[in-house]
């Protein structure tokens, strides 16, 4: 049910945006009530990104799905996603981000979110911070290790 939405989420920023949109929609549900159903639709049009609004409309087209419960469950699912902070030497392209996200969700496990940082001093490769631990796989570290071994 949530895959159409969750599969599109690659970064922490994406998740934060979706969380905000879900909260706005949940507020709209409580404010408008049954008498103003098209007010929820107005919120979808005005305050939610197009691809998100379309995905929600498609899910809610099923009359058996309760709006309020759907939004609450979606909010809980978003909290389960695991962020991984990755520092790169240069700003990645969107294509590279998608490739990294796909690789992580296939090779490691689904639901990984990218928290991309930018630091030119690492020269290349990446530095990963996950679960409170710091792992340096950068070109800078490899270069320094070579220098240490050769005792230059």
């Amino acid at each position: 049910m949530y895959s159409e939405l969750l599969d599109q989420l690659m970064t922490v920023d994406d998740v934060e945006k979706l969380k905000n949109e879900v909260e706005i929609l949940r507020s709209a549900v409580f404010k408008l009530g049954k008498k103003n159903e098209d007010a929820f639709e107005q919120t979808l049009k005005n305050d939610v990104r197009t691809w998100v609004a379309e995905a929600i409309r498609k899910i809610l087209a099923d009359q058996t799905v309760d709006k309020q419960k759907f939004l609450q469950d979606l909010s809980e699912e978003l909290k389960k996603l695991k962020p991984v902070q990755i520092t790169l030497a240069s700003q990645p392209s969107q294509a590279l981000l998608e490739k990294m996200h796909d690789w992580l969700n296939v090779q490691v496990h689904p639901g990984i979110l990218l928290d991309i940082q930018y630091e030119p001093a690492i020269l290349g490769g990446m530095v990963i911070a996950a679960d409170g631990k710091y792992h340096d796989f950068s070109l800078r570290k490899k270069t320094l290790e070579v220098l240490e071994k050769t005792n230059i």
Binding site: G124, A130, K133
Partner: protein, 224 residues
């Protein structure tokens, strides 16, 4: 010739007085000789060799014998020249005189032998003590020399060791400082070169390869 009792008594008194005088002179002469011999012995004790002491003792004994013999002959001659005594009396007096002289001579020789033996014992004991003392002194001197040499060697070795350690420490410190400066300098240069050249010249494709290589490493190390 018949002699009266008083005259005979007078003659005997004169003879006795003469003999006493002769004996006194003999004793004085003997005493002087003995004193000279004692001086010689003392001289020997003060540093002369044992052989010389023995020689002196032999000479003293010979001289004493000569003196005694001369005294006996003189006494006999005196007796023979005095025709106031009968042959029996003269013979008896000569016999007594010989016995007395022989007795004195025996006692004197005995005393000399005792003295000689005492001297021999003293010399032997002294020589032995001197030998022991000399050996003790030589050994003490040798030990002192050896101890002094050993102490000097140990002191010198300790000083050399300390100086060597100081020098080695100073050299090592200097080497480490120079090495650290060189390392820092070289690393800074190489790091800057890598950052300037490699960092700016890596293509996006190369960067992407490095990123996925890093992801593979992270997975193998169970970082993700």
């Amino acid at each position: 010739m018949a002699l009266t009792g008083t005259t005979l008594l007078l003659l005997l008194a004169l003879l006795l007085l003469f003999l006493l005088t002769a004996a006194l002179l003999f004793l004085i002469h003997t005493y002087n000789r003995f004193a000279e011999q004692l001086e010689d012995m003392e001289e020997v004790l003060n540093g002369k060799s044992f052989g010389k002491a023995g020689k002196v003792l032999e000479e003293a004994r010979d001289e004493s014998l000569t003196i005694i013999e001369k005294s006996e002959k003189k006494a006999e001659a005196i007796l023979q020249n005095t025709n106031m005594f009968s042959a029996d009396v003269q013979e008896e007096m000569s016999k007594k005189l010989k016995e007395t002289g022989q007795k004195q001579m025996d006692e004197y020789l005995k005393a000399l032998a005792t003295l000689r033996q005492d001297l021999v014992d003293i010399f032997q004991k002294t020589a032995k003590e001197l030998e022991v003392e000399a050996q003790h002194d030589v050994e003490g001197f040798r030990q002192a020399i050896v101890q002094n040499v050993v102490q000097s060697q140990e002191k010198l070795a300790t000083q050399l060791q300390q100086e060597t350690e100081k020098t080695s420490a100073a050299l090592e410190k200097h080497r480490a400082e120079v090495q650290a400066k060189m390392d820092a300098s070289v690393k800074d240069i190489v790091k800057q070169v890598v950052q300037d050249v490699v960092g700016k010249s890596l293509t996006s494709k190369e960067q992407e390869l490095l990123i996925f290589k890093s992801l593979e490493e992270a997975k193998q190390q169970h970082v993700l």
